[in-house]
């Protein structure tokens, strides 16, 4: 069992979870993920890790309330325990001295890009971090990211903070930098990963994306996480989650992520009024 120390909504629909998992905290590296199970009946939910404290043995995770399982995770109270936190899973993000690195984080990726920024900064890179959200109220950890970045750029869809628009403004941003960009790394929802990769391709910037296909075990046992990268099938949980964004078959990834849309998403998005009505009728 793993003790939850903190679990609260941090910005609308994105939750901050701090959980005790000393063995994982001791080993985890930037870009790796864990799998958590909120209850004995629960699904195995893969989540990136946004920070850790090796001494205290804790992990900090941001998760979006996306469906029934993350909804259940959101309801776990601080002080109680959850049955599974396993990891670190996946390969770590490759950290080297590249020169100038553009980091892009959206949604939970605003958090999970942080340890990557920190590690790249430690290696002496010029770190430019872009965070993106629909509106200003969805932006978080600006101060922490600023500490480990040479430059921090905020983009909001509605222009309530920073630049207006989304990651497609990449060419403008790149043109304002003093140095050419040697590498780009994106964390966040599939949409952002793809849009960012599309934007960087014409600029010839090598782009690494942290993929999030459906997973079960996270150890290479089931194959549900398979993605096509450069016409080869890879298991994202063990071969990734980082891949070259210009090589990923995005259409296939999107389609595979939609497999359980009728079972999972539809029920949580409807009010179930019909069921209530029916149960009243029945007695």
């Amino acid at each position: 069992m793993f003790k939850v120390l903190q679990n609260e909504m941090h910005v609308p629909n994105i939750h901050l979870l701090v959980v005790e998992a000393p063995e994982v905290a001791r080993e985890i590296k930037p870009g790796q993920f864990v799998i958590v199970r909120p209850s004995e009946e629960g699904e195995r939910i893969p989540l990136n890790v946004s920070d850790w404290d090796r001494e205290a043995g804790t992990l900090t995770i941001f998760f979006m309330n996306a469906g029934s399982s993350t909804d259940l995770l959101a309801s776990v109270e601080a002080g109680s325990e959850i049955p599974t936190v396993v990891g670190p899973l996946g390969r770590e993000t490759e950290i080297e001295k590249y020169g100038t690195v553009l980091l892009v984080g959206g949604c939970y990726g605003i958090g999970s890009i942080y340890p990557i920024a920190r590690a790249l900064k430690d290696q002496g890179n010029n770190v430019v971090t872009i965070i993106e959200g629909r509106s200003s109220y969805l932006i978080f950890w600006e101060d922490r990211l600023a500490e480990v970045s040479d430059q921090l750029i905020v983009i909001t869809r509605d222009g309530t903070k920073g630049l207006k628009g989304h990651i497609s403004r990449l060419p403008e941003i790149v043109s304002t930098l003093d140095t050419p960009v040697d590498r780009m790394i994106i964390n966040g929802c599939t949409h952002l990963l793809k849009r960012g990769s599309d934007a960087s391709r014409p600029l010839g910037i090598k782009t690494i994306v942290s993929l999030n296909p459906i997973m079960i075990d996270g150890t290479g046992m089931c194959g549900v996480c398979r993605v096509t990268v450069g016409s080869e099938t890879k298991f994202a949980c063990v071969d990734g989650p980082d891949f070259d964004g210009h090589e990923v078959d995005w259409a296939e990834l999107r389609q595979r992520r939609r497999t359980y849309i009728t079972e999972e998403v539809v029920p949580t998005r409807t009010s179930r009024c019909e069921e209530h009505a029916a149960s009243r009728r029945d007695g």
Partner: protein, 467 residues
């Protein structure tokens, strides 16, 4: 009860009742129902109590078969169960899933006359009887040796090593990657063949013996083998053969195409059949094809059937060559699984929305025997045809997961990704590291994995006692 002095040979193997096919295909309960006490005694009385029992020579964990059968014949089930447990930690499991027809029962002297003793069914009977009495009494703990052993993997191989070494007084910790112990017994083999409560019971028994169990711990990720060796005197790797194979066919990543591991894990480990009470979904498809012909394929096809689908098996050879146990093939046939023999899938065709809609297949005929002695399937030219299908389960095989191999310097790995270990001792090329079960042999059987565990435990004990 007293054994009759001289009796006529009774060659009539007592049948075990089963749920009727029309009923069982609608539920996930166990298919075979087990002997009643009277039937078990009748069956046990048939055993000749051979002085040199040939049956025992073919049981990988060396159960004293005539001895436990004698106790049943005498009606002393408690003594029989105790006898069994001396050699086999998982009798309720082996009695159900051992391929007895090619193990103990194959060498029973009565097989020549077609009346071999139903050893597996008797084993199961005793184990279930004991469980119904509230389980085995916990034996007294032996003197501690102070030596520490780490076991990687909670499948049959690892459980056997742990059970043997804890009884010799060593301190044992099992590290298991998943959230439940049991390996394939919990994530692979379906409830209707092996109820999960049985595996849980056996694991609990190990815990009562003092084995420490750590789930949610991926060796090679959470901690490396080298790091564990700093803390433990010896280490056993029983991590199984969990990496699923695909066929590399066009369209294989379409939605609705699963590995057998995924399909069975959703059902068994995650209890998809209880969705939404358990939260991992499984699709209810109308037409499901399982590709393959082994036990795994039978399990997938019979699972699909129970989920309400029209269920087919696509196998490239004929019925004769099916590698699955005959009993399971017959069960599948009775339940209504449709077999497409001499058929090879060529590619999967999507519906335009990312879901599989059809399989293009080719018919085969049997040619000359190949290395395995089975007749080789040869394509019949121009026999391509289309089979409409909403889902496909790929059950063509598994090999060891490379995670441990990749993170353990000095561990010799064979061509197929298996860990190289000595047949007799389970020793690997790395000091203080033993291995056994599917990770060494490739996908094999429960009892072979347990046999390998037993040998490794013996060798580990020798090592720990000599140093």
């Amino acid at each position: 009860m007293i054994m009759p002095e001289k009796k006529k040979l009774d060659l009539n193997r007592r049948e075990m009742p089963k749920q009727p096919p029309e009923v069982r295909r609608q539920n996930f309960n166990e298919v075979a129902l087990g002997y009643r006490a009277e039937t078990a005694i009748e069956e046990a009385v048939r055993c000749l109590q051979c002085k040199k029992p040939l049956c025992v020579s073919n049981c990988p964990v060396e159960i004293d078969i005539p001895a436990f059968i004698k106790r049943i014949a005498e009606g002393d089930f408690a003594a029989g169960a105790k006898k069994l447990k001396e050699k086999n930690l998982l009798p309720a499991v082996c009695g159900r899933v051992c391929p007895q027809e090619e193990q103990c029962e194959e060498t029973c002297v009565l097989i020549k006359k077609g009346g071999q003793i139903a050893i597996g069914r008797l084993e199961r009977f005793l184990a279930d009887w004991e469980a119904a009495q509230g389980g085995a009494p916990v034996p007294r703990k032996p003197k501690r040796t102070g030596k520490k052993v780490a076991v990687v993997g909670g499948g049959p191989a690892g459980l056997t090593v742990a059970g043997d070494l804890i009884r010799l007084g060593h301190e044992v910790t099992i590290f298991e990657a998943l959230h439940k112990m049991g390996g394939v017994l919990v994530y692979g083999i379906p409830e209707f063949r092996l109820p999960k409560a049985i595996v849980e019971r056996e694991v609990r028994y190990l815990e009562m013996l003092g084995v420490r169990i750590v789930t949610d711990f991926v060796v090679g990720k959470t901690r490396s083998i080298n790091s564990l060796l700093e803390e433990y005197d010896a280490l056993f790797v029983g991590s199984g053969a969990g990496l699923p194979w695909f066929m590399d066919l066009p369209g294989e990543n379409l939605n609705g195409i699963y590995s057998a591991n995924e399909y069975l894990t959703r059902m068994n480990l995650m209890k998809g059949f209880l969705f939404p009470d358990f939260h991992t979904p499984i699709k209810e498809h109308r037409r499901v094809a399982t590709v393959g012909g082994g036990n795994v394929a039978m399990d997938c096809a019979r699972t699909a059937l129970r989920l309400g689908a029209e269920s087919r098996i696509i196998y490239r050879r004929s019925r004769e060559e099916l590698p699955a146990r005959l009993e399971e093939v017959e069960n599948a046939e009775e339940e209504g699984v449709i077999f497409e023999f001499l058929t090879l899938p060529l590619r999967y065709i999507g519906d335009g929305n990312g879901w599989v809609r059809e399989i293009e297949c080719l018919r085969m005929k049997l040619g000359e025997p190949d290395d395995s002695g089975r007749r080789r399937p040869v394509p019949i030219e121009g026999s391509e045809f289309i089979m409409p299908m909403d889902a496909v389960v790929c059950a063509i095989g598994n090999s060891p997961n490379p995670l441990i191999a990749d993170t353990t310097p000095g561990l010799e790995i064979g061509k197929k990704g298996n860990i190289v270990a000595d047949d007799e001792t389970g020793r690997t090329s790395k000091a203080r590291v033993w291995a056994g079960g599917d990770v060494v042999m490739g996908a094999a059987t429960v009892i072979l994995a347990m046999g390998a565990g037993r040998k490794a435990a013996r060798s580990i004990h020798e090592y720990l006692s000599s140093g």
